[in-house]
Structures are given as structure tokens and as C-alpha cells.
């Protein structure tokens, strides 16, 4: 536990070093990075110890504050979340040393590092809190630091808009959480999470708790339709911040959902089914929106909606498993969800680091203006390809393993007895297949348009490969993607222990299914090895027949001898046909000058796909509320004293209601 506390303090304080030493920017940034990395290493070590031993780490409760004893508590579930929470910001800070150097950016970089450390500690506190009050403290530290991080480039209009939309939504979410914990306090008489367990899931109050958790945590996690704030916020922040926000910060919402649903005994099937359905919709719509984007970082942010959807599908299956008393279904869904949390953090950060390197090298992140970067940036291109294949769920990488666990859960649900509607949860498997196919299509588009072919504008002309300080964190993440993909069985025991702890089953209850899934995971690993052998053999055959030194020529253009880069298929045209089925939801704003007449002169086409929920639902609602507020203000007198009086009257009325009638 001392390790974890030291890790928390070091990460929280790391950014202060950057501010305090700002007269010596180079040293300041090195010191802050070193402190963050050291703190993160301690935190990861603490979490890894919990996972390896299967024990629960608990501090003795500190002197009771008004809302119960303050304590830290790390079980298997929390430990799985702690690993990316500590590891990704540490890698990001190394990357940031070159991507956002304090020597060049001055005070702005110092401020960024201050909140970078705080957001890390805040997330870790959320996950490690043993008490709801401490949880909320961590939640707000994390949410507000997140705001300042998004706000880094605060002169830019889109950044301001993104940051304020983020701030408003995160507070709506916090409001839900206050209500949620107030209800829990009423039900259990305590705010200590460890002592709340064993709630009855019957009755409207349990339903209200689940609904509040779903909206409050769903807002943070970015489940459709509560995802509207996310693409802009993640695109607006500097890339190593986007990596943390998109890869890790969202997952605190998933953690909260799992933590709260874990408190109940035998949750009703409707909870699992609704989470599964919301997850499936999020996954499909997330990837559909991603396909329609041409801003690289917005596209990646929409993929987070997709992946959070996949995680929610796993969590839904786990809940269904508990309501049906099936530990195997529970363990498979839970393992899929939690492993995907870790995996998504890995490959999404890798992709955002890559996006940052591209933006730095080319000055744009519009993929329609890029192309052919594979030659100028071979390191980034190769590592990005690993991330792209992993996020598409392709074997032998980590994304496949967690999606496969979720699909196994669906297959398990299929085995439920005839007439049980929960067997329809098996439809999660084809939904996953659709999402996987669309995600692969999207990353064919991204990688093809950015790194392959030839340059579509002058932007990539001066591109250069990223420096080692930026490539090294990416290489670490890519290695993690490959390692988890090739050796998933190593994680199976820890996942099953965490699943049993979450469902409050004895460790032995999951053992039988653990053996089965563990054995299957070992076979996946075998298949991965066979794939590598097959690649090696095919490569040897090719090498033997084509030893190299082949002549180079022009791309075949059906006899046309003067191909130009503008003839290439664009990213938008690649996605166009795929988006046809989604045209009800994905609504592009198109500005086009179409070629006209026998000798067409100019032609132009520009399409932007705004977020449908934000533009068609939230924005009109807010505008209407604004109009009503203006009306109200016009009928009340403008004198400040009258306003003050109104406030006092409202307060007195509320207090009277609280004490006299409630």
C-alpha cells in the first residue's frame, strides 16, 4: 500500500516541479517526467502485486471525516484499471518531452504538466478510493484537470467550444453521481464502498441507482447518445493528452459502472440486456461516425466510442451471467470488458501518439491532405500499423483477444435453455463481427490515406520521422499489443480472480470455466505462433523466388502514362459506399461545386460530418433553454438586490421543505 500512496503523491506532485523550476525549463521538464515515471512505476508495481497474488489491498481507515472513514482499497477490478492509468501518462510524459517541450512552449507546457500529473493522480484516486467521498474528490480533480488540459491551446475557437462543452457535460455527470451516492447512502447507511456490497436489486430504488450510474458514468465513458462532447474535446487537446483522455480517462466511467453494479446481488436481466444493447449501438454508431471523419484525431476519438461500446457489451454479458447464475458467462463477459479496457488504452494511445507525430511533421491532421508518409516516416508508419491492426481486432494482436472473449460470452449465452430470451444476447457476436469489419475498413482508409500511395498536398513534403523520444513510447505500446496478443493465457488467471471478486463468488466458482477459457486462450496463442511460422515460410518462398533488385516502374493506370497524386482514391470516397446504410444518422454537410458543361472548369467538394446528437439534439435544446432564460430575465427587475432577495427566498423555501416535510 505504501507503494500506491507514494505513487499517488509522486504523480500528483510531478507537475508542480515543472512549474517551480520553470526558470530552467529543460531541467524542469526532465524532473517532472522523471517524477511522473517513478510514481507510475510504483503504482503499476502495486497493482501488479494485487493481480499476481489475488489479494485485496486496503488501508486502515483514516480519522473519520463527516462522510465515513477515508480509506484506499484496491481489488482485482481496480488493479486492472490502475495499470493503464499509471502506465499511459508515464509514456505520454516521455513523448511530451519532445512533442510539447517546455523549452519552446514555456509556461504553457509547465501548466500542461501540472494538470497532466494531477489528472493521473485523480484517475488513480477514483479507482483506488474505498469511500464514495474520496471517489468524488478524485473524480472532480480528474474532471477539472481534464478541462485545463483540453484548454491548453485556449486562443483557438474550436478549442474553447470543445473545452466548455466538456466542462458542462462533466458537471452534469457529476450531478448524477452525487444523486447516485446519496441514494446509496440512504440504502446502506454508509459511504464506504467495501461495506455497501450485497444490496438487493429489487425495487424502484435499485432501478434508479442503475439508471443514475448509467447516465453519470455513461456520460464520462462516452456511450451513445452521451458521447457528443467527446470527439471535439479529444481532438482539441495536444496528442499526448488526447491519448490519456481517450485511452484512459473514459475508462473511469466503465470502472464506476462495474463498481456500482458489483454492489448488487443478482442484478436483473434487464440491466445486463440494456447495457449490452447500448454497448452494441455505441460500437456500431461510433465506428460509423469514425468512418465519416477526415480529421485524424476526431476519427480516433470516435473509435473510442466504438471501443467503449465493445467494453459495455462485455459488461452487459457479465451482468446477464450474474442474473442467470452462470459464472462462466459472467467471467467471459467480465474478462472481455476488463481486458479490452487495458487493450484499448494501449492501442489508442499508440494511435494518438502517431497522430501527434504526423501533425507535428506535416502541420495538418486532415487525412485528405496527407499520403505517402510511409517513406518519410517509416518508424511512425510501422508502429501506427500495429495499432491500426490491433484496434481492428485482428489476430495475433491484443484487440482480437478481448473481442474474442466478448464473443465467447455471446456464444455461452447461446447455450441458455430454449425459451430464455437472454439467449438472444448471442446476437452480440454478429454485432461484434460487423463492428470489427467496419473498424478494419476504417483503418484501411486511415493507414492507406496517410501513409501509402503518394502525397495529396504539399503538406507531407517536409515530413521527417519522429525523434526517438517520441518513437520509444510508441514502440513500448506496440510491443505490449503484440505480447498480449500472443500470450493471452498469461492474463487469464488474474482476470478470473478479478471476475470472481467482482461477482462476490468464491474463487473456485469460476475455476471450471477459467480452465476452459484459459485453455482456449492457450490455443489462440498457438494459432498466433502458427501464423507467424506461416508468414516466415511464405516469406522464405518469396525471398527464394524474388531475391530483390527488381526493376521499378509506374503504377498501372490502364495505359494512362501520366498519373498524378490527385487521381488516387480519397479517404472520403473509400468510406462513401460503406456509409450508405448509416445515412439516417451520419449526416454530412456538403459544399460542392460539381463539374458542369462540356469543358468543366472548376470543381470542388468539401464535406464535414458534425456530431448528430450534439447538432440535432443537445444544441437546439440548449438554445431553447437560453431563449426561455432570456424571457425570464426580461420580466424580472434588473436590480441586484432583487436577485439577492430571490436567492434568499429560494434558499429558505428549500430548507423549510427539507426540514418540515421530508
Amino acid at each position: 500500500m505504501a507503494l500506491l500512496v507514494a505513487g499517488l503523491v509522486l504523480t500528483a506532485a510531478s507537475g508542480a516541479l515543472a512549474v517551480l523550476l520553470s526558470s530552467w525549463p529543460r531541467i524542469a521538464q526532465r524532473a517532472a517526467t522523471a517524477a511522473l515515471c517513478l510514481g507510475s512505476a510504483l503504482g503499476v508495481a502495486a497493482a501488479a502485486a494485487v493481480l499476481a497474488s489475488g489479494s485485496v489491498l486496503e488501508t486502515a481507515p483514516l480519522s473519520p471525516l463527516p462522510y465515513g472513514a477515508v480509506s484506499l482499497r484496491v481489488d482485482g477490478l481496480a488493479a486492472f484499471f490502475l495499470i493503464p492509468i499509471f502506465a499511459i501518462p508515464a509514456l505520454g510524459s516521455v513523448y511530451g518531452g519532445r512533442y510539447y517541450p517546455q523549452v519552446e512552449r514555456g509556461a504553457r507546457a509547465a501548466r500542461l504538466q501540472l494538470f497532466y500529473g494531477l489528472v493521473t493522480a485523480g484517475m488513480a484516486l477514483v479507482v483506488a478510493a474505498g469511500n464514495a467521498a474520496l471517489f468524488l474528490v478524485g473524480w472532480e480533480v480528474m474532471a477539472l484537470s481534464g478541462f485545463f488540459l483540453v484548454f491548453t491551446e485556449h486562443e483557438e475557437g474550436p478549442v474553447q467550444r470543445a473545452a466548455f462543452v466538456y466542462l458542462a457535460t462533466t458537471h452534469v455527470g457529476t450531478l448524477c453521481l452525487f444523486a447516485l451516492f446519496a441514494l446509496l447512502l440512504r440504502e446502506t447507511g454508509t459511504l464506504e464502498l467495501g461495506r455497501m456490497a450485497g444490496l438487493s436489486a429489487a425495487g424502484p430504488r435499485a432501478g434508479a441507482i442503475f439508471a443514475l450510474a448509467l447516465s453519470g458514468f455513461g456520460l464520462k465513458a462516452g456511450l451513445v447518445p452521451l458521447h457528443f462532447w467527446l470527439p471535439e474535446a479529444h481532438a482539441a487537446a495536444p496528442s499526448h493528452v488526447s491519448a490519456v483522455m481517450s485511452g484512459v480517462l473514459l475508462k473511469t466511467g466503465i470502472y464506476g459502472l462495474l463498481r456500482v453494479t458489483g454492489l448488487f446481488d443478482a442484478p436483473p436481466a434487464a440491466w445486463g440486456a440494456s447495457l449490452l444493447a447500448i454497448g452494441a449501438v455505441s460500437a456500431v454508431l461510433g465506428v460509423a461516425f469514425a468512418l465519416s471523419q477526415h480529421d485524424l484525431k476526431r476519427l480516433l476519438a470516435y473509435h473510442s466510442v466504438e471501443n467503449v461500446g465493445i467494453i459495455a457489451m462485455g459488461a452487459g454479458l457479465a451482468l446477464l451471467g450474474r442474473s442467470r447464475g452462470d459464472p462462466t458467462l459472467m467471467a467471459l463477459g467480465f474478462s472481455g470488458a476488463v481486458l479490452h479496457v487495458v487493450n484499448h488504452a494501449t492501442f489508442k494511445s499508440l494511435l494518438f501518439f502517431g497522430a501527434g507525430a504526423i501533425q507535428e511533421a506535416c502541420g495538418t491532421r486532415d487525412i485528405e491532405r496527407l499520403g505517402g508518409l510511409g517513406r518519410a516516416m517509416p518508424g511512425v508508419a510501422t508502429l501506427f500499423l500495429v495499432g491500426a491492426a490491433a484496434i481492428s481486432g485482428l489476430p495475433p494482436l491484443n484487440g482480437f483477444v478481448s473481442e474474442w472473449f466478448v464473443a465467447l460470452g455471446a456464444l455461452r449465452a447461446l447455450g441458455l435453455p430454449r425459451g430464455d430470451p437472454a439467449a438472444l444476447a448471442a446476437l452480440a457476436a454478429p454485432a461484434l463481427a460487423l463492428v470489427g469489419g467496419l473498424a478494419a475498413a476504417c483503418f484501411v482508409k486511415v493507414h492507406g490515406a496517410v501513409f501509402l500511395g503518394s502525397a495529396r498536398s504539399t503538406a507531407p513534403a517536409r515530413a521527417h520521422d519522429a525523434p526517438p523520444a517520441m518513437l520509444a513510447p510508441m514502440a513500448v505500446l506496440a510491443a505490449a499489443c503484440i505480447a498480449v496478443g500472443l500470450l493471452p493465457q498469461a492474463l487469464a488467471p488474474a482476470l478470473h480472480r478479478a471476475a470472481a471478486g467482482w461477482a462476490r463468488l468464491p474463487a473456485g466458482a469460476v475455476a471450471g470455466s477459467a480452465l476452459d477459457a484459459g485453455a482456449s486462450a492457450a490455443r489462440v496463442s498457438l494459432a498466433g505462433a502458427l501464423l507467424l511460422i506461416a508468414v516466415a515460410a511464405t516469406l522464405a518462398l518469396r525471398r527464394w523466388r524474388l531475391p530483390g533488385g527488381q526493376p521499378r516502374g509506374q503504377t498501372w493506370g490502364c495505359g494512362f502514362a501520366l498519373p498524378t497524386a490527385r487521381m488516387q482514391y480519397t479517404a472520403s470516397s473509400l468510406a462513401k459506399m460503406l456509409l450508405q446504410p448509416f445515412k439516417g444518422v451520419v449526416r454530412p454537410h456538403v459544399e460542392a461545386t460539381l463539374p458542369d458543361g462540356l469543358f468543366p472548369q472548376e470543381a470542388a467538394y468539401h464535406a464535414e460530418v458534425p456530431d448528430t446528437v450534439l447538432d440535432l439534439l443537445i444544441a437546439p435544446l440548449l438554445r431553447a433553454a437560453d431563449a426561455v432564460a432570456l424571457q425570464v430575465r426580461s420580466v424580472t427587475p434588473v436590480r441586484v438586490s432583487v436577485h439577492a432577495l430571490l436567492v434568499i427566498v429560494t434558499l429558505v423555501a428549500a430548507l423549510a421543505w427539507r426540514f418540515l416535510w421530508w
Binding site: 456464444l411 447461446l414 430454449r418 478494419a440 482456449s520 511464405t538 523466388r545 498519373p563
Partner: protein, 303 residues
């Protein structure tokens, strides 16, 4: 058991191009031509392996890795599929998911290799390929789920093993739908009429063939062999589901299986000779239709 599985696997690797030869011969019979010899695909492969290659100046290592990784993925997928009712060399719970994703890996690298050339034709082919395949994927999964539910098995070797005859008597209609859907998926995934025409010489209308326009020599040989192996895999899957009770264990199954595979080639060739290619915008409708049909079959079983 393992010895038999490996012998059968090696036979499949050897005989996969023959399947394409039979399809081509069926088409030539329908057209009233003499047609190429049955072994022509082997001659083509050997010829291509002896040739050199020319690479476009825009391409990188991705272009050259595409055919290699794609073929390796299809070969690995073949290791998971039982042949003639005997268990595959590697089988486990949920192996059909891995098989589908390995085929997806092959598609991913092929499409990337196509985009590496910077050619608009190949980009167009890649766009169509990823579109149709992502729509075909749910239909494939749903029909596999039908099979899993009907047989109570969770691995391909279990689904196509001893429980299948019983499943045909208990859930015949659902399995029949699954076979039909699998056939539609096989036509789409293997770029066959009515989705794609492997014979067309107009780049604009092709899908799979246009993606590999720039590959030549040994690279093209790897691609062609991979394509024939993939067709063989889908054929083997469909034949084993459809044969059901006819596969009773023992070496006699090989004859039944071989007959079934010839039948599959006849069916593909016949469809190809009698039908026109669908309009491109109709293809998604056909695939969504197949998905709905297989979902219906699943509901029949779960209800």
C-alpha cells in the same frame, strides 16, 4: 487422429487449385467452349513462380508484405477447419471466430497493399472489398451461431462432428437456411458472380481482381493460391454442414467429401454461368438479406 487430420490438410493444400479448375471447366461447358485443362491453375502458379516482378515507384514494403501475410493468414485459417468430418489439427471453443478474423486479416493486408500503389482503380477495389466483406461478416457469424446452437458445440470440429446428423433431424429448416446463407457469403467473400466477376477485363467493374492489378510474378502466385485455398475452405465448410449424416467417420468419408466438393464447384460454376453480376448498389442489399435470413434461423432455434 492427428495423423489423419494432417494428411487431409496436406491433401487440401494440394487440391485447392483444382477446385478453381473445375469451376472454370463448368463455365466453359456452359459457354460451349473447350475450355482450359483442369490442371491449368497449377500451370499458371508454376509459371508465375518462375517469373520476376516489377514494382511501382510509389510502393513500400507494405505492398510486398500484403500477399505474404494474406496467404499465411489463409493457411492458418485452414488449420482450424475440419476436413471430411474429422477434427482439425487445432480446435478449441470459439475457433470459428478466429477463423473469420484470420480471413479479415488477409483482407486487411490485401486492401492496404492495393492502396500502396496510389492507383484509383485499386483504391476503388479496396473500398468495395472492405464494404462488402464487413456486410458479409454478420451473416457468416449468424450462420455459425445457428450451427452452434443446433449442435450444442462451440468449436468448428464439434459443430461439423458427430452431433450434426442429430441436429439435421431436430433443426433441419434452420440448418438449411444456414447452408444457403453460407453459400451466399462464400460467393461474396471469394469474389464470385453475382458479387464480382473473376473473368472481367474491365478494371472499373472488378473488386478483388482490381486490387491486385499491380502484383505480378511470385507475388501474384501467392495471391492466386491464397484465393483458391479460401474458396476451398468455404467449400469444405458448406459441404460438411450439408453432408451432415453422410459423414460417418472412417476413410470412406473422404470420397463423400470429395464428391461434395466437386458438387460445390459445379454449383459455383453454374451460378456463374447462369447469372449476371448484380449492380454494385444491389450487393449490400443481398448481403443484408442474407443476414436477416440467418437471424431468422437463429430466432427459430432460440425461441
Amino acid at each position: 487422429m492427428l495423423v489423419r487430420a494432417i494428411v487431409q490438410l496436406l491433401l487440401s493444400f494440394a487440391l485447392a487449385p483444382l477446385l478453381v479448375g473445375i469451376v472454370n471447366r463448368v463455365k466453359s461447358l456452359f459457354a460451349g467452349r473447350v475450355g482450359p485443362p483442369l490442371l491449368q491453375p497449377y500451370h499458371d502458379l508454376l509459371k508465375l513462380l518462375r517469373k520476376g516482378a516489377v514494382y511501382s515507384r510509389t510502393t513500400t514494403w507494405v505492398f510486398r508484405a500484403g500477399p505474404v501475410v494474406a496467404l499465411a493468414a489463409v493457411i492458418t485459417a485452414a488449420l482450424l477447419l475440419p476436413i471430411a468430418g474429422a477434427p482439425a489439427p487445432v480446435f478449441f471453443t470459439g475457433d470459428f471466430i478466429l477463423l473469420a478474423y484470420l480471413l479479415a486479416l488477409a483482407r486487411f493486408v490485401t486492401a492496404l497493399a492495393a492502396l500502396d500503389t496510389g492507383s484509383s482503380f485499386e483504391g476503388m477495389g479496396a473500398a468495395r472489398e472492405v464494404t462488402f466483406s464487413s456486410l458479409a461478416e454478420p451473416a457468416l457469424f449468424l450462420s455459425m451461431l445457428v450451427l452452434a446452437r443446433a449442435t450444442g458445440a462451440t468449436s468448428l470440429s464439434g459443430m461439423l462432428g458427430g452431433a450434426l446428423p442429430g441436429a439435421w433431424t431436430a433443426a433441419g429448416p434452420a440448418l438449411l437456411i444456414a447452408v444457403i446463407v453460407l453459400f451466399v457469403v462464400a460467393l461474396a467473400e471469394n469474389s464470385r458472380v453475382p458479387v464480382d466477376d473473376p473473368n472481367t477485363h474491365l478494371e472499373l467493374t472488378m473488386i478483388h481482381e482490381v486490387m491486385v492489378l499491380d502484383h505480378g510474378g511470385p507475388d501474384l502466385a501467392l495471391i492466386l493460391y491464397g484465393a483458391s485455398l479460401k474458396l476451398f475452405l468455404f467449400g469444405a465448410l458448406i459441404v460438411q454442414v450439408a453432408a451432415g449424416a453422410a459423414l460417418r467417420g472412417g476413410w470412406g468419408d473422404l470420397a463423400v467429401f470429395a464428391g461434395g466438393m466437386v458438387g460445390f464447384a459445379l454449383a459455383v460454376g453454374t451460378v456463374e454461368s447462369l447469372m449476371a453480376r448484380l449492380k454494385l448498389t444491389r450487393v449490400p442489399q443481398m448481403l443484408v438479406g442474407a443476414t436477416v435470413l440467418s437471424a431468422f434461423a437463429l430466432v427459430l432455434l432460440v425461441r
